[in-house]
Amino acid sequence: MADMTDVVTTPGSDTDPGVRRFLSLRNAPKPVRSLARYAGIIPFLAYIAIFLIVPVVAIVIGAFQNPQTNAFTWSNVNTAVHGSYLHGFQQSVILSLIASVIPGVFGLLIAYAIFTARGRGAASLRRVVITASGVFANFGGVPLAFLFIASLGSSALVTGWLSDLGLNIYNLGFSLYDLSGVALVYMYFQIPLMVLIILPALEGLRPAWREAAENMGARSWQYWRYVGGPVLLPSFMSCLIVLFGSALAAYATAEALTTGTIPLTSIQIGTFLNGNVLAGQENVGKALSLGMVVIIAILMVFYVLFQRRAAKWLR
């Protein structure tokens, strides 16, 4: 078939360099050369391997080495999964759960709100929210901690407003410096991150599906229950996984806010790098890192599964 169309085109087309190049472009993606096609992404993959994968693999190996002799040992890993370090993992996981599910739902609502907005001002609304998301998703550390200390610290602005209304949040068990407080602060970069990563999935939700559902008499909840929800769910879940990982990875913000009062794994790893280490435990930091890598690896398996599921409907 392809040959026939080529023959039909003007005879002598081979002499025209433009046409020849056009034909060569059209014929380029042949299965025969499939391996060669991967050449185009080799620089990218090599960069990832050198600056991301190799360092992580080195840590995994180091987690099983005696710091003095480099001999194989379980003792680092053993230390890392007991006592205060085990507690650190538990706290980190709880924090990451809170700081991924709530911002995930809220971020989805915001993304959907701006994506479906129509009429005057809709474009400006989208512009403001998306650009602000790009900026806030990268915000963190001491400046972010200060924002919340100034507003929700024990004698800060918003705390004052609320106690004027007769609501003393610190008497109600809230503290900016415990897990719930840190989770609230994390949402400041988690919600914008969710908006950014869920938007491409919303793009795939065809307006035509909604119209088809409405034409068949579906109410709004029925559309979400039987069409929109099932299509969006895998993407939503994979975005939640990213948020969970992002919360788990956060270091600077928690460090600035709590100065180590809550045991979080990322902060514990940081102390090993700062040099406050007992002799013989130099590689426990690597074992803790290994723990994080294992959690992330499990998450990424689910991420891939959800993404594959999402690809069924969303291009």
Binding site: F44, A58, N138, G270
Partner: protein
Amino acid sequence: MATLTPAAAGQVISPDNSKKRRGPQDRPAIWRWVILLIAGVYFVVPLYAALRFAGLSGFKDVFTTPGFGSSLWLSIRLAAVTWIVSMLLMIPTTVYVHLRMPGLRRLLEGVTILPIVIPPVVLIIGVLQVMPLALRASVWLLALEYVILAMPFAYRALDAGLRAIDVKTLTEAAGSLGAGWLSTMWRVILPNMRTAVTAATILIVALVLGEFTMASLDLKQTFPVWIVLFDQENAQISVAASIFALFVTWVFLMLITVIATRQSRRTGGGEVTLFTVAPQQTIGN
């Protein structure tokens, strides 16, 4: 011809649509405003509280404090190197994948999400262990790692930019006019990706100017590290400075989308957004 169609369709269909629907059109508007109001309060109030607490009086002192100039200069140089390496690496890769291997887009999306979930504190331990001493001693190691950290955002910005244009048709058209691969890239694809590239640039700069974890653990005094050291002496000023930096970044991002949309409208196109392709105006709800 092609540019006429979407505009015409938008004009014809959308007024028609709004006449037909009565009830459902109003209901979503309420939840939309409730959500956006809550978000607005959550994001704006802490900024207001911090600015009120910090004040802007001592703002000028920042510029004369020792270390300000050198740390900012270091961060700027790091941002420049990170930007160059990111662009050289990411633009050809994303264009290539779009053109030749669209099936790999999901893989790329998955790979570029890794830097978000792999803790920088873990990564820097490994980096300090495996990199050759010469590289570890130099500040440029940070820039090379920032390329990794910036990847999720850079990739998403570039990918959305490519999805918004018809790369395949453009490349084929350029090819049929006799353009080579390099010429197509430089004179056809890149000019069409201007918005996406600018957005990626700003995000990279914002990331490098704000990154604390790796820089501090690598014992390099970049601007964010200096701010924290400085913070212990005068918290107010350093916070005011970082809020100011946040605001400037946002204004720049707003400006590029506004300018790009205006240019796109002039040539008959639609709204330009970052990270996502704007929804079609034709059939909405």
